[in-house]
Amino acid sequence: MPKLINRYGLVDTVAGTDGWIEYTGDANAIPVGAKVLLPLTEFREFSGTWQKHVGVNGALGVKLSPADDPALIANDLEKLALIAIEFPAYTDGRGYSTATLLRERYRFIGELRAVGDVQRDQIFLMARAGFTTFALRDDQSIAKSLAAFNDFSSYYQHAADRYVNRSAMPLAA
């Protein structure tokens, strides 16, 4: 079962998506007023249409692949409640730079979610790079994953988490 956590605990115990529906090509599968997660190309071409579709009760999110350039959505950030960044394998570190750019350069203040091969052992670094929610790989222990936020009590360098507003984060579900 997919699990979605933030640093305070489980955000969604049921579907692991916190109500977000991923658009995979079938628009009929997305109810009016939903929270919909779009691929970058779909968002760039049809963001107006989708905004109307989800309306004021729904929300838009974008899912970025590792090679996607976050500069392409830099001017649309206020339209986005969620940016998900895909980790096809935990060894693919491009998502850390994407997250850093979104937080540090473009000052995205919404939810930044790590999806894909998201494991306990990368969470500390992901959180420091500016991620706030983590869609854990199925086999990951929730307790171990939550402990990961405290792997280190201090660090040497500046990172993008300094731009994360923790007071705006929901506490555990």
Partner: protein, 553 residues
């Protein structure tokens, strides 16, 4: 020597706890081999032929005697009574048990040592000049800057999962002893006309499968921007470096394929946005880090010591050692000394636990409790009083570390090779041993003069064969060990990649081939001080090639 604060100590302790938990989960079957692999590599642990190998970081090659005694302790308690100094100023243990590695790391942490980022696709241990701070030709002492890079790169959240490993070297002298032209990033600290410190930034050099001399993309980067500029380079690489093929994943391939001009443009655009960011360095930060370095205490001494001069005149063996293993010092009455770890019958860079203890005792007695590791796999005492040289020499002689072969053919650099390493196509150590024996005569070595002979057991080039005056590379030919020979490679300011002389040779033939190369050189040289590599530059490889293959047929 940099002194840890409680902050540094806590971070290393927490790293030990983190890795202990990861190892326990792995051993309990809760963390798969694939998922554990990168975690253990980033803690210096390889799984090799016979046993795991643990690579321990020696930041920029500087180590104190307490730490050296800890190496001896670890070699005795967890290993087979010896350790190996690598070509990246680190130390390796070849026989630890996986389940005990967390205990080794905990022992190391008690003396402020660790194995963080000594392997894996991350920023590795930053290396520097073994004579940093004491070299007469030094413009800027690189140690403080190396420490600042160490701190910045340690557990960096953005750059822990790069396309491939990433090595930074820094030099601050007229003569480059840190191989800055063949690193992912090479930094040369210098001063501008106004006396301000800055860095020449060289990117995309490297050895391995595709040897390339790096390109300078900045001639003078003001020191305040050291980290913001590194961030820009690393970010461009992390985002755009190839991840589809590990052999094309190093930054040098990105620089080459995109062209240095395009790459520079990307970096400069990125830097434009980062340069005044949070990582901009302040004088205060530099002062704080500088203040944590202990400084050697120097007496006011005359440049020459009468007794030492007399001893030199009377003892040709000592005179030879002075010529090859004793180096000029910026402070009058002091010298730096290289302890040769190139001994007949001992793999280059290997040292026993007892020897580590004896070296530590000598460093306490003669060198203010510190020593350094060189990228040529030797050790350096950096602050020896000239009057103490004869006594130190006798001590080193009894340890077998006074062979006057630094810069000569006896000072062979060799990776661990097929005897230990999984990647190797061929053995390195026995080849080094055979050449070492062939050229055992010091008279012969001195007659040949300066010569770097480097051996790698595979194309990954840990033995730096490309920049050896003579380079030897193990290749796999129908599952037999063969060796390809290059000549004319050079390290330093005018680093050059050696040229392959022709088809490879069977292992048994290698000493003869080297002998023929040397004989060719001796017959061609016009003056005694024309080095092997100078002759190759003057004549090209043809005369060498002709002779070697004529003899081989």
């Amino acid at each position: 020597m940099y002194q840890y604060t409680a902050f540094d100590q806590r971070l290393v302790d927490e790293r030990v706890a983190q890795f202990r938990d990861q190892t326990e989960r792995h051993l309990a079957g809760k963390l798969s081999g694939d998922d554990f692999k990168v975690l253990r590599l980033q803690n210096g642990l390889y799984i090799q032929k016979h046993a795991p190998m643990l690579r321990v970081a020696i930041p920029y090659g500087l180590v104190n005697t307490k730490q050296v005694r800890m190496f001896a302790h670890i070699a005795r308690k967890y290993d087979r009574d010896y350790a190996h100094f690598s070509t990246r100023q680190n130390i390796q243990f070849n026989w630890p048990e996986l389940s005990r590695v967390p205990d080794i790391l905990a022992d190391l942490a008690t003396v402020q040592m660790h194995a963080i980022q000594t392997s894996g696709n991350c920023i590795r241990n930053t290396t520097t000049d073994q004579f940093a701070g004491v070299a007469p030709d030094e413009v800027v002492n690189p140690l403080v800057w190396a420490e600042i890079i160490r701190q910045w790169s340690t557990i960096h959240p953005e750059f822990a999962y790069l396309p491939r490993k990433f090595k930074i070297a820094i030099s601050g002298s007229a003569k480059d002893r840190a191989a800055t032209l063949v690193h992912d990033i090479g930094l040369v600290a210098l001063k501008n006309d106004a006396g301000q410190i800055g860095f020449r930034v060289i990117v995309g050099g490297g050895l391995g499968r595709t040897p390339i001399v790096g390109t300078a993309i900045r001639e003078f980067l003001p020191w305040q921007h050291l980290i913001t500029y590194l961030e820009a380079v690393l970010r461009v690489y992390n985002r755009l470096g190839r991840r589809d093929n590990k052999y094309k994943a190093r930054i040098k391939i990105l620089v080459k394929e995109s062209t240095p001009a395009q790459f520079t443009e990307w970096v400069e655009a990125e830097f434009e946005a980062t340069k005044n960011g949070a990582s901009l360095l302040s004088q205060h930060e530099i002062d704080v880090v500088s203040a944590r370095f202990t400084q050697p205490v120097y007496q006011s001494l005359p440049s020459d010591d009468a007794a030492t001069v007399t001893f030199t005149a009377a003892n040709s063996e000592f005179a030879r050692w002075q010529r090859r293993n004793v180096h000029a010092h910026r402070v009058s009455g002091y010298a730096a000394v290289t302890l040769s770890l190139k001994r007949i019958g001992v793999p280059p860079g290997d040292i026993t636990a007892d020897e580590l203890d004896r070296v530590a005792a000598l460093a306490d007695k003669f060198n203010q409790g510190e020593l350094r590791v060189t990228h040529e796999q030797n050790l350096v005492f950096s602050d020896i009083e000239v009057s103490a040289l004869p006594e130190l020499w006798r001590e080193l002689k009894s340890l077998g570390m006074a062979t006057p072969n630094i810069g000569l053919i006896g000072n062979i650099i060799a990776c661990p090779g097929g005897d230990f390493c999984d990647l190797a196509n061929a053995v390195s150590i026995p080849v080094a041993a055979a050449i070492h024996e062939r050229f055992e005569s010091l008279d012969y070595q001195f007659d040949i003069g300066e010569l770097d002979l480097n051996i790698s057991g595979c194309i990954n080039a840990c033995g730096h064969h490309h920049v050896g005056h003579i380079g030897i590379l193990g290749v796999d030919k129908h599952e037999e060990e063969w060796y390809q020979i290059t000549i004319g490679g050079t390290q330093g300011n005018n680093a050059k990649i050696g040229k392959i002389i022709g088809p490879s040779f069977a292992r048994a033939a290698v000493p003869d081939v080297v002998e023929n190369l040397i004989q060719t050189y001796l017959s061609l040289r016009e003056r005694d001080d024309e080095r092997f590599v100078d002759v190759v530059a003057r004549t090209g490889i043809e005369p060498f090639k002709e002779r070697v293959y004529a003899e081989a047929n």
